[in-house]
């Protein structure tokens, strides 16, 4: 079969099983768009800004585990996508970005809409390619998908000069079934000797804890994680990116750790003597002050990326491999072995943990008369029976969603953790809804974040992706204001806007339903009404308490045991451990 580059590209996507391409046209990709016009297997979703193309593809990828695909033109198309690409990169999301480039002969001449896309994106992609010969196009696309989805996933960009997709140049097409790269062989199984050592340490622990992260979600290791955790009877805590991989309501679960983690999770980390880290990367929002991080613990770390191991925190037993396989290996060894965890040590460890739990660190004032943002999230959970896919933007609302929507399944909690990109939530929700048209999809956002990609309300109408936008409108950049309250004596420099749009009218202008909710008693009915409108995008503008802060909080430069709590705790906090 002889095809032109444009048709080859579209055929590659079909052969790769791609459902959706999120994109925006322009000069350098017109040949490709013409090829798209000639078929309808691969559906093109026309966004309103290229950043949103990447976020929507990202949301689709997080919700399905399949790579998200983005198509943008050269120059401004590519630069607009960079924020979205960097967002995916920081959270290790599989994505393939196809960018148009000026024709090969004029590359380097400052041609119209020329930027060095490969150069600009190099630090925020797993890999990138510039296609120099149409004969190599199909193989390059295959490599891009392979690299994006294997090992530690990540975005891969393929830059395609316009002459490569010239409709008049046709070459034989064959999509490779497999590719291999001599320089790239990600590890799958863990080293047996290391796993044995790890199990010895794990089983002899007095105060063990499992600390799991996004790697469990990315690597589909949740079943194995649950099995191992139950087998051991140890407490478990998750990072922001790991929520849902272990069911939140489970009694062994201590919830999230880190800056806005629970009191019990952070205290248990601090006092632990053995930590099993599973697909988590010891991010600074998790560790707090490194010098005070888990002073008594031996650390076992499972990660597919060797560079995540001993990067910030020195690890005692590294295990390179995919969580799913390494955990299976561990479970088998433990089940076959004679050694079992110490029941007495565990009993007193759980006793201590329960005393931290008794602090009830996520409790909040339920009688203030204001709409508390936490309450809205709890009601959102009720209205959706905990089954919704929840995307979020960045700020206080993101933390409330993480803390109060008890995620019990993986891939339901979709947020930008590593880059913390405001503007992520709405386009991501559109991507999720396309992937799961029958599921409830909510975008938890704030009045500042939502305005960063609000134009996507138009995309939501065009493709009929009825998501519910939960705007926790505190009339502040709440997260910024909170830091200014704590660290800058409440000098609220530029953390509020004097003018906000009327979101209800704005939603209506885009063809959607808008609701403004001002009283606590209206929260529940509003949510019920909104979710009953199955085929409409609804913008719920909740006027929340302006002064609410996210607790607990570990302030910058503090350790895990040094948390700021909402209510002064009783004795458990002061308790000393030898």
């Amino acid at each position: 079969m002889e095809l032109s580059g444009g048709h080859i590209l579209v055929q590659c996507l079909k052969d790769e099983g791609v459902e959706f391409v999120f994109g925006y046209p322009g000069g350098a990709v017109l040949h490709i768009y013409d090829a798209i016009f000639h078929q309808d297997d691969v559906k093109h979703i026309l966004v309103r800004h290229e950043q949103a193309a990447a976020h929507a593809a990202d949301g689709y990828a997080r919700a399905t585990g399949k790579p998200g695909v983005v198509l943008v033109t050269s120059g401004p198309g590519a630069t607009n996508a960079v924020t979205g690409i960097a967002t995916a990169y920081m959270d290790s999301i599989p994505m393939v970005i196809l960018s148009g480039q000026v024709p090969s002969p004029v590359i380097g001449s400052d041609a119209f809409q020329e930027v060095d896309t490969v150069g600009i994106t190099r630090p925020c992609v797993k890999h990138n390619f510039l296609v120099k010969d149409v004969h190599q196009l199909a193989e390059t696309i295959k490599k891009a998908f392979y690299i994006a989805t294997s090992g530690r996933p990540g975005p891969v960009l393929v830059d395609i000069p316009k002459d490569i997709t010239d409709p008049n140049i046709k070459v034989p097409y064959k999509y490779p079934k497999k590719v291999s790269l001599r320089s790239y062989n990600p590890v799958v199984h863990g080293h047996k000797g290391q796993i044995k050592r790890a199990i010895e340490v794990l089983l002899s622990a007095q105060r063990p804890i499992i600390y799991s992260g996004g790697g469990v979600v990315l690597g589909e290791g949740h079943k194995e994680l649950i099995e191992l955790t139950r087998l051991l009877g140890y407490p478990i805590t998750q990072t922001l990116m790991g929520l849902g991989a272990y069911p939140a309501p489970d009694k062994q679960n201590l919830g999230m750790l880190g800056m806005h983690g629970t009191y019990e999770a952070n205290m248990a980390m601090h006092e632990s003597d053995v930590i099993l880290a599973v697909g988590a990367r010891f991010d600074d929002r998790v560790t707090g002050k490194l010098a005070e991080f888990c002073p008594y613990a031996k650390i076992i770390h499972i990660d597919v990326d060797p560079s995540s191991i001993s990067k910030t925190v020195r690890v005692d037993i590294p295990i390179v491999g995919e969580v799913k396989y390494v955990l299976t290996q561990m479970i088998e060894l433990i089940e076959d072995g004679k050694e079992k965890p110490s029941k007495t040590a565990l009993a007193s460890w759980w006793q201590l943990i329960d005393s931290w739990r008794a602090v009830n660190c996520l409790d909040y004032d339920r009688t203030s008369g204001f709409i508390k943002p936490q309450f809205v999230i709890e009601q959102l959970y009720e209205a959706t029976q905990g089954n919704a896919f929840v995307t979020s933007d960045v700020g206080q609302h993101q933390m409330y969603a993480a803390q109060y929507y008890s995620f019990d399944k993986p891939r339901r909690w979709i947020n930008s953790g590593g880059l913390g990109t405001m503007g992520f939530g709405l386009p991501a929700a559109i991507g999720v809804k396309l992937a799961h048209p029958d599921a409830d999809v909510a975008c938890v956002t704030g009045e500042a974040s939502i305005q960063m990609c609000i134009q996507e309300l138009s995309t939501a109408l065009q493709y009929n992706t009825p998501v519910k936008i939960i705007n926790l409108n505190n009339r502040y950049m709440g997260m910024v204001r909170q830091w200014q309250e704590f660290s800058y004596q409440s000098r609220y420099s530029q953390s509020y806007m004097d003018t906000l749009p009327e979101f209800v009218k704005l939603a209506e202008a885009y063809g959607h339903v808008g609701m403004r909710i001002e009283k606590p008693e209206d929260v529940r009915p509003a949510l019920q009404e909104a979710f009953a409108l199955k085929d409409r995008t609804v913008f719920l503008d909740f006027m929340t308490d302006r002064t609410e802060n996210v607790y607990p909080m570990i302030e910058a430069g503090k350790g895990h045991h040094d948390m700021k709590l909402r209510v002064a705790p009783g004795t458990p906090m002061d308790r000393e451990l030898s």
């Binding site: 490969v118 150069g119 190099r122 630090p123 797993k126 890999h127 510039l130 690299i147 790269l181 001599r182 320089s183 790239y184 990326d305 060797p306 560079s307 191991i309 001993s310 990067k311 020195r314």
Partner: protein, 163 residues
Amino acid sequence: MRHIISILIENESGALSRVAGLFSARGYNIESLTVAPTEDPSLSRMTLVTRGNDNIIEQITKQLNKLIDVVRLIDLADAPHIERELMLVKIKTTMETREEVKRMTDIFRGQIIDVTPTSYVVEMTGHSSKLDAFIRGLAEDSVIEVVRSGTTGISRGEKGLHL
């Protein structure tokens, strides 16, 4: 500690900038970097001299290995090895100083490869510290220009870095 990292990397355009970009983005230092194609034209060999404590060197090698284009690498400083650098020095000469420069060059086993009535060009290879010593031995105002290749190296014994 000083480390010499020797890298086999795909001979692709952009491969060098991936390595250089990694060092600048992560704040690692590069003392010197040499690169040239190998006997297999699809591969380049890079030799990179860097400094850092064990943790930093561990991260550097892991991050380099993570680059898709990097096929294999070793830290030469881990085992017995030989390192060499090439230097070309242009030296101002007068009738009175010519003999002394010639004698110095012989002592350091260099060669004079260009001669004019007022200058020599000396070629010298060796450990970087030997090249430093030669420069220090010359009269300060006599050096017109120094060109150095940066260190390259190879491990001792029959084991080699190849595919």
